[in-house]
């Protein structure tokens, strides 16, 4: 156990103890869900290798070894390449406990979500800490107001984020509302501040100060149109700088069979529209659904990183999708595609031209009848940096809400990120789940064969995976009991 894990362990144990004892005790009713899941995955990392440049025949910076392996050579130094390291078994074991309790004044409830990773071997990202406090907050939602205090997760036009603090929502006349929140900001996906142990161990230049997250949202609905405006500022606690300052506007209109969406995120610090979309979806008679979308994307980076200063270039994209359901036969088909074009990078030195556009195309068909189901799909995604083509298939049997068993297979062709790495991945697997009252089990196993065609030293190999899980519910589901 690394030193950084101990505070998390202590915090988690306290939270878990509170979750399983205090919340149900104080609450008039409670509902708890425990999920224990374990995955066991064979991994074979890459390892850098090298030989003296003089030992590699040929000249130039890029050469081939006798077995066909591409190497990058530095004159009078070494020729380097990536090869296969030894295979190791990775175990990813998580334990999630979610408790909801309610009681006392009408509208008052509390929620705690604790995630443990006891047994994980830390290889898999995000498993460095033994315990995460994903959420823990009190919620009062009654009439025109809603207030939450604690570790809160939120989703809005700015994406998903969580923080330790409080929110207050007021529902005004009609369908208008306004909300404000404040608290100590957390890192997306980490459930800890920027100064936490995970960043300290993974980032060379981690932030040296926590952040205060302040934000406000206002929205409403007029006829078929609903929308909101969100403003958020993440400021260092020493107030020397902002980590981010963003605005989001989201609009949605449901008019007849049409759904019209418009949204944008704006980075106030760099005056950049990060993700702007305009999408129209129409549901035609006969269960036919069409959608078209125009999108502009540029990545967003917080100001404690240097990445935003590198003037990232985004792309404009046109997307379309069609879905059709033939209900009487349990069939459903969908197809989607998109084309994107990147902006001018403004760079001067180009060793080789780089693709400046990308496209994707996919289609799938599913069948579901009398407990049997099947799926076939194909997907292609090509762009600068990486590409893949592949298809999936599955065939399964469900037993009402009790469980299912399913056999799946896939074959995918991938291309490495700006490197010689064409690879075919072929896999088969079996998944099963069974539920009896408040107790359910699921598990599966799969084998993947990886065949490389470019780098012989990254040997072809077969990867085994297995997973299993158990879910147990406690207490009563509000409204489900008689």
């Amino acid at each position: 156990m690394s030193p950084g894990r101990r505070p998390g362990l202590a915090l988690g144990c306290v939270a878990a103890a509170l979750a399983v004892t205090v919340v149900p005790t104080l609450a008039q009713g409670f509902r708890a869900q425990f999920d224990g899941r374990g995955s066991f995955i064979e991994m074979r990392p890459l390892a850098r290798d090298s030989v003296p440049e003089s030992q590699v025949p040929g000249d130039g910076l890029r050469r081939k070894l006798a077995d066909g392996t591409w190497v990058s050579c530095t004159p009078d130094d070494f020729c380097r390449w990536y090869g296969a390291a030894s295979t190791q078994m990775v175990s990813v074991i998580t334990q999630d406990l979610r408790v909801s309790g309610w009681g006392g004044p009408p509208g008052l409830s509390g929620r705690v979500h604790v995630r443990g990773r006891f047994g994980s071997d830390e290889f898999w990202p995000g498993t460095r800490r033994d315990v995460d406090l994903v959420a823990a907050y009190a919620d009062y939602d009654r009439g025109r107001i809603r207030a939450q205090v604690g570790r809160i997760g939120r989703s809005d036009g700015l994406g998903y984020y969580n923080f330790d603090g409080a929110t207050f929502l007021y529902r005004g006349p009609g369908r208008f509302w306004i909300e404000g929140y404040a608290g100590s900001s957390l890192v997306t996906g980490l459930n800890e501040p920027r100064t936490g142990v995970v960043f300290a161990e993974t980032e060379d230049l981690p932030p040296d100060d926590r952040g205060w997250l302040l934000g406000a949202r206002a929205g409403g609905q007029v006829g078929p149109v609903s929308g909101s405006v969100a403003y958020q500022r993440d400021i260092r606690t020493d107030r020397k700088a902002l980590y981010s300052e963003r605005v989001a506007v989201d609009l949605r209109a449901l008019v007849g069979r049409w759904a019209l969406d418009a949204s944008t995120d704006f980075d106030w610090m760099t005056a950049t529209f990060n993700d702007a979309r305009l999408r129209a979806t129409v549901m035609l008679p006969g269960d036919l659904e069409l959608s078209a979308e125009g999108r502009h994307f540029e990545p967003f980076f917080e100001s404690w990183t240097i990445w935003g200063a590198f003037s990232p270039v985004g792309f404009d994209e046109a997307r379309g999708a069609v879905a059709w359901r033939w209900a009487e036969h349990g069939l459903r088909f969908e197809a989607s595609g998109g084309y994107r074009s990147y902006g001018d990078t403004g760079t001067q030195l180009e060793a080789q031209t780089v693709r400046e556009d990308g496209w994707r195309l996919g289609g799938a068909g599913t069948w579901d009848g009398a407990g049997w189901s099947a799926l076939l799909s194909y997907y292609a995604d090509v762009g600068p940096g990486a590409a893949r083509y592949g298809g999936d298939a599955s065939f399964g049997r469900s037993f009402g809400s009790s469980g299912f068993v399913s056999l799946r297979g896939s074959r995918t062709q991938t291309f490495g990120e700006l490197r010689f790495n064409e690879q075919f991945v072929t896999g088969v697997g079996l998944d099963a789940s069974w539920r009896i009252h408040d107790f359910s089990l699921n598990g599966g196993a799969s084998i993947y064969r990886l065949d490389g065609t470019e780098q012989p030293d990254e040997d072809d190999w077969t990867q085994a995976r297995a997973y299993g899980g158990v879910t147990v519910y406690f207490g009563r589901d509000p409204g489900m009991s008689r």
Binding site: S228, T270, A364, Q423, V425
Partner: protein
């Protein structure tokens, strides 16, 4: 043989019971027509022996018969007064007569109500409702078209003499057959008039929230009606509002008081299955023998289109779907908190794109957003940003951490010597375009310090990374510390 004996025995018993019942229920019926011409008025019989002030001129005692059937003039008869027929009429002959007289109207002769139209004195019979409405203010020409039943009738619960059988014979007003009657009968209805035919159980057949509706509670409960309702299903016609576009997204606006008429809590729980909802606790919960109401099976609202799982961001931002009505925030964290259990844990086997509401196996995923084996094919999605990876994953602590452990990424102050990006012979000096188009991908393998070795104003090679649109004033105004990383910091390693 035994069967034949059983049948015979059963038949005899049935005949005996039937006969007994008939003898018990037989009453003498006076044949007015056979006595035509014998009397000069109704009071000859109907007023004899009647205590003053009572409503009994309708009854005839044996004394009245005996005035003629005395065994001399006419043979004696064995006359038993017919039992008074139970009724729910709010009518008293004495009071009625008194009211008419006090109003200054002409006294009404018996034939005014009881004549059957023959013209003779003895052409009489029971008064018909149409006769009543011939005089009384009545909105309709026919009896059962009336809407103000209470003008002539007492509430059913007060008509205690009526048997279940008699109640079953009640006529059905014509307006009850109107197509919209089930959904509109509460509009302007007179509870008193409803109570003439209906009791609380009548309403509870359809109204799941009968025990909290004042109009229903104003009616009395009556056990006589229960057998009549035992085999009747509730009627829950679909209101026109349910077919309006966008109804699924705003259907809660009318409140539980409206929904609870037809829908039980279990109907809501098909979709609203998460978390403690105060309003859900207020929805009706029928007992085992009570109507279930309209059962709505679980399904996403129409606004949850086929690709909603990857396109719901705008709907969430706009607040249009009131996400938290169905989804607890914890559900968001099932997907939006980065790594959970690793590969393939409980995720659907395969899917073109994640779609939690349309899992072909019919199950609802509890965790696992990506398709199976996503780890080995995520490169294209990550570069193309089909969905925003950073909404769930920390680039530094998740992507880079994994890439470093798996050998793809490079650690601090390390260099692969161009071995990774081996399709570019001069990758180092020509990587700018790729970097600006996929900067998130760069950061998923490289530390900031890797880039600062060259791109720093204070150390390194001093290569300016800023593009033409870079606005240093705007950034420095908000975060001068960001500038300091490259321009003044001592953290930068040598190239």
């Amino acid at each position: 043989m035994r069967t034949w004996r059983w049948a015979l025995g059963f038949g005899l018993v049935a005949i005996g019971v039937a006969g007994g019942v008939r003898s018990l229920t037989s009453v003498d019926v006076f044949d007015h027509g056979a006595h035509a011409g014998l009397f000069v008025g109704c009071a000859s019989c109907h007023a004899v022996g009647t205590p003053a002030g009572e409503t009994a001129p309708t009854t005839v005692t044996a004394v009245a018969c005996g005035r003629c059937h005395d065994g001399t003039r006419e043979e004696t008869v064995d006359w038993t007064e017919p039992a008074r027929r139970p009724t729910n009429l709010a009518f008293s002959h004495v009071e009625h007569g008194g009211l008419v007289a006090s109003a200054g109207d002409d006294p009404i002769a018996c034939a005014g109500c009881h004549s059957t139209g023959g013209g003779r004195l003895m052409d009489v019979g029971p008064a018909q409702p149409e006769t009543c409405i011939g005089c009384h203010a009545h909105e309709s020409a026919a009896h059962l078209e009336a809407t103000e039943c209470v003008a002539c009738h007492v509430p059913l619960a007060s008509a205690t003499g009526l048997t279940t059988g008699r109640i079953a014979e009640f006529g059905r007003p014509s307006d009850h057959d109107a197509p919209d009657f089930a959904s509109s009968h509460g509009d302007g209805a007179s509870e008193a008039s409803c109570a003439v035919c209906h009791v609380r159980q009548s309403c509870a057949r359809c109204h799941l929230d009968a025990d909290r509706q004042p109009a229903v509670l104003s009616l009395a409960a009556d056990s006589r009606v229960a057998p009549l309702l035992a085999d009747l299903e509730g009627e829950w016609p679909e209101p026109a509002s349910h077919a309006e576009p966008g109804f699924a997204d705003r259907h809660g606006a009318d409140g539980v008081a409206t929904c609870g008429t037809c829908h039980a809590a279990s109907s809501c729980e098909g979709c609203h299955r998460r978390g403690a909802r105060a309003w859900l606790a207020e929805m009706p919960r029928p007992g085992p023998d009570e109507p279930r109401g309209v059962v709505v099976t679980a399904s996403g609202p129409a606004s949850h289109t086929a690709r909603f799982a990857i396109e719901h961001a705008t709907a969430v931002g706009a607040g249009a779907a009131s996400c938290e009505s169905c989804h607890a925030p914890a559900e968001c964290s099932n997907c939006h908190t980065g790594a959970t259990a690793g590969l393939s844990a409980a995720a659907p086997a395969v899917a073109l794109e994640p779609s939690p509401h349309r899992d072909p196996r019919g199950g609802e995923r509890e965790s696992g957003y990506h398709i199976a084996n996503f780890v080995q094919r995520h490169g294209a999605e990550a570069f193309g940003v089909q969905t925003t990876c950073t909404d769930c994953h920390s680039t530094e602590a998740f992507c880079r951490d994994c890439h470093t452990r798996s050998g793809v990424g490079v650690g601090s102050n390390e260099s692969a010597g161009g071995a990774y990006h081996d399709t570019r012979t001069s990758w180092l000096i020509g990587h700018g375009a790729s970097a600006r188009m996929g900067l998130e991908a760069c950061a998923s393998c490289h530390q900031q310090t890797s880039c600062l070795r060259c791109h720093s104003a204070k150390a390194g090679w001093g290569v300016n990374p800023h593009g033409s649109g870079w606005d240093p004033a705007r950034v420095s105004e908000r975060s001068l510390l960001s500038c300091a990383v490259c321009h003044t910091s001592d953290q930068i390693p040598p190239p």
